[in-house]
Amino acid sequence: MGVAESTFATVRCLEASTSKLSVSDPSEELREQIQQSMVRYADGHRDAFQLLFQQLWPLVQLFSIRALGNAADAEDAAQCALLKIFSRIAEFDRTRDALTWALSIAYYEVLTIRRKTHRRREDHSSLEGMSTTATGESEVIAKHQMIALETSLLMLSEADRDLLLSTIDDDHNSQIAASSVVRKRKQRARVRLREIWRTLYGSF
């Protein structure tokens, strides 16, 4: 399975998982619900805690499991991330997207756990799943980039995501024949994807 097809499959799988959390349009409605709960809780309305916790915890868990693979490490990362999110909610910038903000904190926790795991493995002189050779390092980098790309795609709206992923499915001739409207929409979707990437990971 190529990189693009793998990304497509992963994003569809994660969408299916998160769609169980909401009734109608899974991504937009859930994102809006999280935004409202986060703003209320950041404003000091303590009754918003339960709903926000129920909305965020599964997503943070899902993200950590996908990023780390290992269930034990993922659980640790998810718990640390959730606690960090709640400790910083009072400083949450209401103009930002709540879900993006929360998952960016989760991402850094995942990186921290990954570094700890890597150091543990180096200390024990066993590089399970990792290699210090040039080939092994490039595989690790590629894996990091895949996860980063998948996360960024998840942050997009469903319409943008479908548009970009359909670019992978379409053959070359179809892309040439695509109307200027569709091309412009794809271009805008790519711009939004770049903005999300910059928000999460800095410049390219």
């Binding site: 809780y41 404003d43 606690l83 709640f86 400790s87 009072a90």
Partner: protein, 185 residues
Amino acid sequence: MDPSKRLLLEKRAKRTYELGRLRVATRVAVLLIPIVALAIAFGDRPQHCACIGVLILAGAIGLRWYGQGWDRIIVPAIVVGSVPMAAGLLRTQYPVNAEIACALMCTIGIAGGVFFAFVTQRSIGAALRGWSVGIAIAAATASLGCAGGGMEGLVGMVVGLTLATSIRVVRDRPKPTQSRNADTF
């Protein structure tokens, strides 16, 4: 996840949230402590200033930690109250003609009060509770400089606040068909 572990995680999340709120709330000390220090250094009654300062700090931190809109009036109230406070301290250091001082202090106080009412109108809206707490904090801050004289500034500020905010309260009072702003108290 095991229900007991989930419950534990929820409790920890709530605790870290409250600690986070408290941490953010204490940042008001960066603004308040220099103001109180000035009042203690240049005022006539440093012990009174210190006591009032501690009360203002505790109240400000408490309200900012509580949130729900109360936090948004604290900093504007302190800033506005510091103007007549500064004028009162200057008067203590450089005594001037009593009538001129009275007129000047009243004007500064009224201007500060009007400014406060307009700056915080989005935070407070038409809610009287928020307005009265804002006045109390601004008045307490102003009183730091008025302990040794200069009560005119404090009175002027309260008059200005009352006038300006009353006008806003009456003007912005929700009509029967209008729904209340969710952010008001």
